[in-house]
């Protein structure tokens, strides 16, 4: 898998939809034959994966919102995005 760097621009993969489950009111990812309920943190990461924002900008934005340590946050975001990429839910824009 191509490693990510500060300039990588993650986006939802083709065929993946960010959706609100009308029954629970919670955010989910919909993809072929699958539904992934999102916790708040993952939702915050994914809703920033526009394909235009760089990883650096995403981490900056989250660091500001959470008032959290940037280095720790970057690790968490990378870990989260790596898992989503392995599941073909997120890709890197060219």
């Amino acid at each position: 898998m191509t490693p990510m760097n500060a300039e990588s621009r993650p986006a939802l993969a083709r065929g993946v939809r960010l959706w609100i489950d009308p029954i629970t009111g919670g955010p989910v990812l919909l993809f072929p034959e699958g539904v992934l309920p999102l916790d708040d943190t993952t939702h915050d990461v994914i809703s920033r994966c526009s394909g235009a924002a760089t990883l650096e900008a995403i981490v900056d934005s989250l660091a500001e919102e959470y008032e959290a340590d940037r280095a720790t946050l970057q690790n968490d975001v990378c870990e989260c995005l790596m898992q989503l990429r392995e599941e073909m839910l997120v890709t890197l824009s060219p």
Partner: protein, 362 residues
């Protein structure tokens, strides 16, 4: 998850077809009836609709149905042989908001693929798969595995990779209906399964982040049953072409279950109240050894249809479980297969042995 079986009609004749061996009578649901099903399903909490069959493209109103399901808020997946998937129809489906296209292949190799399908389909499928990618659809490739094609698993993975599929489903035939009838010709040998698992494990690593590979081995080789449908009446419902609602796509093989019809009852009533959906829901129905098994909330006692088929009783533990008193029946069958070696079955109908799926008679 709603599996919408739109029609039983299909141009292919695969000997492991998921169609019932004995078709129920009745006319196919109309466009308006399906629209109501999608709306009711959405209100029930369903998020996903799979259009299946038979071949769903046999329905002229498929784009309307896709649009109706999307309008109801459902994620839509077309599960197709790709026969009849012209560019014009694919464009209509894209316009309708269809989310994903899943195309079945019978093998990577044309001659074998056409033999299994019972018709010359392979080239059409290749063209259709390339075309849907051009139109920007995400693509799932699905190949049902059996003794005749499992040894080509590496080449099958290469085929899906060359088609730039996001997902590849490599599921062994499940031995119900047509596949049960043909299981002596379809079940792979133990070394074939082991070799395939090795190839999948290597290729998964190589393709991580590029293509997701799902691999399902036959439960005949397992000690524990599969968590069928993630529990009866828990997450899954099938509406068949004539409107019957089934807790699992093969539940019609359970002879003493009666299925309610969306033409007569609201979907919510069928899901919550009907006898068929409550029959094996939860853990109350379980006999020993399931009822005091620590796995009972993990595998839910396995598959009711398999219990009916092998043990002749849908209420007993799935015979795939090593704790089932009927496990021996599967084991004897599995062992009888090992001596046939790795040669695939002959798919030549004239040589006998294989029963190809037939269409319903109008």
């Amino acid at each position: 998850m709603l599996l919408a079986e739109l029609t039983y009609r299909c141009p292919l004749h695969c000997p492991y077809c998921s169609n019932p061996v004995a078709y129920p009578g009745g006319a196919e649901l109309s466009t308006a009836e399906w629209r109501r099903v999608f709306e009711e399903a959405s209100r029930l909490g369903v998020l996903q609709a799979g259009f299946s069959g038979g071949e769903p493209l046999q329905r002229a109103d498929l784009p309307e149905l896709a649009a109706a399901a999307r309008a109801a808020g459902l994620y839509t997946n077309l599960i197709t042989s790709a026969m009849g998937l012209t560019r014009k129809r694919a464009e209509e489906l894209r316009e309708a908001g269809l989310d994903n296209v899943q195309i079945s292949f019978q093998s990577d190799e044309e001659a074998l693929a056409n033999e299994i399908a019972g018709t010359a389909a392979h080239q059409t499928k290749l063209r259709a798969a390339r075309m849907v990618r051009e139109l920007g659809f995400p693509l799932t490739v699905n190949v049902v595995l059996h003794r005749g094609n499992i040894s080509r698993i590496a080449q099958i993975i290469s085929l899906a990779e060359s088609l730039e599929a996001e997902r590849l489903e490599l599921a062994n035939a499940q031995y119900y209906g047509w596949a049960f009838r043909n299981r002596a010709a379809l079940l792979p040998t133990r070394p074939q399964i082991a070799q395939a698992a090795l190839v999948v494990s290597e290729q998964r690593k190589r393709l991580l982040g590029k293509m997701k590979i799902l691999f399902v081995t036959p439960d005949y080789y397992s000690d524990r049953p599969k968590p069928c449908m993630n529990g009866w009446g828990a997450r899954f419902l099938t509406v068949n072409p004539v409107g019957e609602v089934l807790p699992c796509p093969t539940a019609s093989s359970i002879k003493d279950l009666r299925f309610d019809n969306v033409r007569e009852r609201p979907l919510a009533w069928i899901w919550n109240e009907s006898e068929s959906f409550n029959r094996f829901r939860g853990t109350e129905w379980m006999p020993l050894p399931c009822s005091d098994c620590p796995q009972r909330e993990i595998d839910f006692g396995g598959c009711r249809c398999q219990a009916a088929l092998i043990a002749g009783d849908a209420t007993v533990t799935d015979p795939a479980c090593s704790l089932s008193p009927y496990r021996e029946k599967l084991t004897v069958f599995v062992e009888s297969i090992q001596s046939v070696g790795e040669n695939g079955p002959s798919f030549d109908a004239d040589e006998g042995g294989i029963a190809f799926r037939q269409n319903p008679v109008d």
